[in-house]
């Protein structure tokens, strides 16, 4: 394990590490991620976060990548707010004072966006360390490796 990933692990309650990215009847595959990784379950009691205002997971890789992941089996309501809260948490707590090379806010969802919804979501940006990121999407059952580089 890299020094960076070791440091990240030391900052996270061990009970909150997850092996599967799964929630609300939806999941994302962790297969084929290029680097070592750890997955933080933000619903974990030890973190004491309010679930409705946070995304479901934060993925950290040895390549200094952070991905906030929200899984939605049904309505997408609140997803932007949850991803933003988790981006802030990742920046200020998980990776505070550490350089991050790559950030990805990811929405894992069941139904495809309609063309009209695409335009709406293209405007919904997540701010991470002063930069504005578009919300990347993969379908339920899709691979995180497709968007996390």
């Amino acid at each position: 394990m890299s020094d960076f990933l070791g440091l990240m692990r030391s900052r996270i309650p061990q009970d909150c590490l997850a092996a599967e990215c799964k929630d609300a009847g939806c999941s994302a595959s962790l297969d084929d991620l290029e680097a070592d990784w750890l997955l933080l379950d933000l619903d974990c009691d030890a973190l004491d976060l309010v679930a409705v205002t946070h995304a479901d997971f934060i993925l950290v890789t040895s390549g200094r990548t952070i991905a906030c992941i929200e899984l939605k089996g049904g309505t997408l309501k609140g997803a932007k707010r949850q991803l933003q809260a988790s981006a802030d948490y990742a920046s200020q707590h998980v990776a505070s004072n550490e350089q991050i090379l790559s950030f990805h806010p990811i929405l894992v969802h069941e139904e495809e966006f309609s063309p009209a919804r695409v335009r709406e979501w293209a405007r919904r940006k997540i701010t991470f360390r002063g930069e504005r990121f578009a919300i990347e999407r993969i379908p339920c059952g899709g691979r995180l490796a497709d968007v996390v580089s």
């Binding site: 350089q99 991050i100 090379l101 790559s102 950030f103 990805h104 495809e112 966006f113 309609s114 063309p115 009209a116 695409v118 979501w121 293209a122 991470f128 360390r129 930069e131 504005r132 990121f133 578009a134 919300i135 990347e136 999407r137 968007v147």
Partner: protein, 522 residues
């Protein structure tokens, strides 16, 4: 039975036709084909046109009457070819029936309201089921409309089994059973063409007759002929009468499919700009004939040739004064074009089509007008001069050269055309167009008084009269297939399968955006 109830349900089924592996489409007052290129939308639209042109020509009153009048030019042969012979009892019955009819047209109509004797009725059914002319005209129109002449093999799907099949099915709209009362199944390929016509017990010969103008005229003529015919001619007259009864029965049974259809091809705007050049070339060719060797001019497909012919002969068709379609043409000019389309017949009888923009500008030729004007000018002219309620207008890609807002307006106008009784068939790639139709269908669920403030309220469409069909390439590369898109009131109405494209574009957008943002993080 009301006229609406009489309008049959019509279904067109094809197999291994062009790029289409298989399709089964119910033709509704508004039929929309949507999907990627090369999946067969135009193939199916042209097929519909070809079949309808063949049927309408066969049933055209002037064609029917001409056939009868040709009887006059030569003494009918006492000896009929075997395939045209009918039983002596049928001859006797037909002649007896003809003799009983009164001479004036209203009485003839009244006379036909009485039941056709069973023997005569069964002979009519047999004639419809066995006559070969319909198959020949289907094949001829198919070859002509696709520009392949007699080589219909070129319309067979290349990976198919060497034969294509097109089946037209007719069923009573009020009938809940799956039984077709009339079916034409055309099979072609491997150098052969065959038509199998079949009728069920439900096919009604009786109801065919009172409304058929050509039958009434033919009957009057045959009665006159009968008055001076000898016994030898009776069989010919009886056979002709049976033929006319058969044509009238078919005409009544196929509803709108027996009426004229008009086709506006996708390349209409280019033709509008260049029609005078094309006409000049044709004239040039005609003038040179016999003097110089004829140059090989490329052949036009039938749909394009018909379009050009309509443009050229447009001046002969008076404007439909007071018709709802002319009103819609005016609306189209005002709402979308911002000016008027002017059509005159020039000195060479070639049409002079110009656009007169609002304001002080004088008329300008279409080639100098915007592409939208060239696109919509033929629609204006067709509505003004040609298309009547009950007839069919087929428009390829109505969205071409139109801004999305104009596409939505045009969709509303076509919806109004449908509501005025014109049957419309559209092939499209446009999400804007389909979304507008979805709005109009959803709007019909509101009480008319509750929708007067909603844009396009006068174009609301009943869901039952709209059919939107998605063409898609089979995932195994086995040709395209066609499925109806169900209207989803809780979603986007009609989902034409463009979500994948929108999402793929979104994914690329986010990848680019985030790569730029990540570059700044570093």
């Amino acid at each position: 039975m009301s006229s609406e109830e009489r309008e049959p349900k019509v279904e067109l089924e094809v197999k291994d036709f062009g790029p289409i592996a298989e399709a089964k489409v119910e033709l509704r007052p508004l039929t929309v084909f949507v999907g990627p290129s090369n999946t067969g939308k135009s193939y199916l639209a042209i097929l519909m046109y070809a079949l309808q042109v063949a049927l309408a020509a066969k049933l055209d009153p002037s064609h029917r009457v001409t056939r009868i009048i040709e009887l006059e030019s030569e003494r009918p042969r006492a000896e009929q070819p075997d395939d045209l012979r009918i039983q002596p009892a049928v001859v006797e019955l037909a002649i007896e029936w003809l003799q009983q009819l009164e001479t004036d047209s209203s009485d003839v109509g009244q006379a036909f309201a009485t039941p056709v004797p069973d023997l005569l009725s069964s002979t009519v059914r047999q004639v419809i089921a066995t006559e070969e002319e319909t198959g020949q005209s289907f094949a001829r129109e198919l070859g002509r409309c696709f520009g392949v002449g007699e080589t219909l093999d070129r319309l067979v799907r290349s990976d198919g089994l060497g034969q294509a099949r097109a089946i037209l099915r007719f069923r009573y709209a009020t009938d809940t059973s799956d039984e077709d009362y009339l079916q034409y199944a055309l099979t072609f390929g491997n150098g052969d063409v065959a038509l199998d016509s079949s009728l069920s017990e439900q096919f009604r010969v009786l109801e065919a007759t009172p409304s058929s103008i050509s039958l009434v005229m033919a009957t009057q003529f045959l009665r006159m002929r009968l008055s001076r015919a000898d016994d030898e001619e009776h069989e010919v007259i009886a056979r002709t009468f049976v033929d006319e009864l058969a044509a009238a029965a078919v005409g009544h049974s196929i509803g709108a499919l027996g009426k004229p259809a008009y086709y506006l091809p996708a390349d209409r705007s280019g033709v509008m700009d260049a029609h005078n050049v094309v006409i000049s070339a044709l004239v040039d060719q005609a003038v040179e004939g016999g003097i110089r060797r004829q140059r090989d001019l490329p052949l036009l497909s039938g749909v394009l040739a018909d379009f050009l012919r309509e443009l050229i002969s447009m001046g002969k068709s008076p404007e439909r004064e007071g018709s709802p379609n002319k009103e819609l043409a005016v609306r189209l000019e005002a709402d979308l074009l911002g000016g008027a389309v002017r059509h005159e017949v020039g000195e060479t009888r070639a049409p002079l089509i110009e656009f007169v923009q609002g304001g002080d500008m004088g008329p300008i030729p279409l080639m100098r007008a915007s592409s939208m004007v060239s696109e919509l000018a033929p629609v204006v002219l067709y509505l003004r001069h040609l298309v009547d309620p009950g007839e069919t207008l087929i428009i390829e890609e109505p969205e071409s050269h139109l801004h999305p807002a104009a596409q939505a307006k045009f969709a509303s106008l076509l919806a109004r055309l449908v509501n005025s009784g014109v049957r419309v068939v559209v092939t499209t790639h446009s999400n804007w167009f389909v979304d507008q139709l979805a709005n109009l269908v959803r709007m019909s669920e509101l009480d008319p008084d509750d929708r007067t403030d909603i844009p396009g309220h006068e174009a609301a469409l009943d869901r039952e009269i709209v059919g939107v069909w998605r063409f898609a390439e089979d995932s195994d590369g086995e040709g395209s297939t066609v499925t109806e898109i169900d209207f989803d009131p809780d979603g986007v109405g009609y989902e034409p399968g463009y979500f994948g494209i929108a999402n793929a574009q979104y994914d690329v957008w986010t990848k680019i955006n985030n790569r730029i943002a990540n570059g700044k993080l570093k």
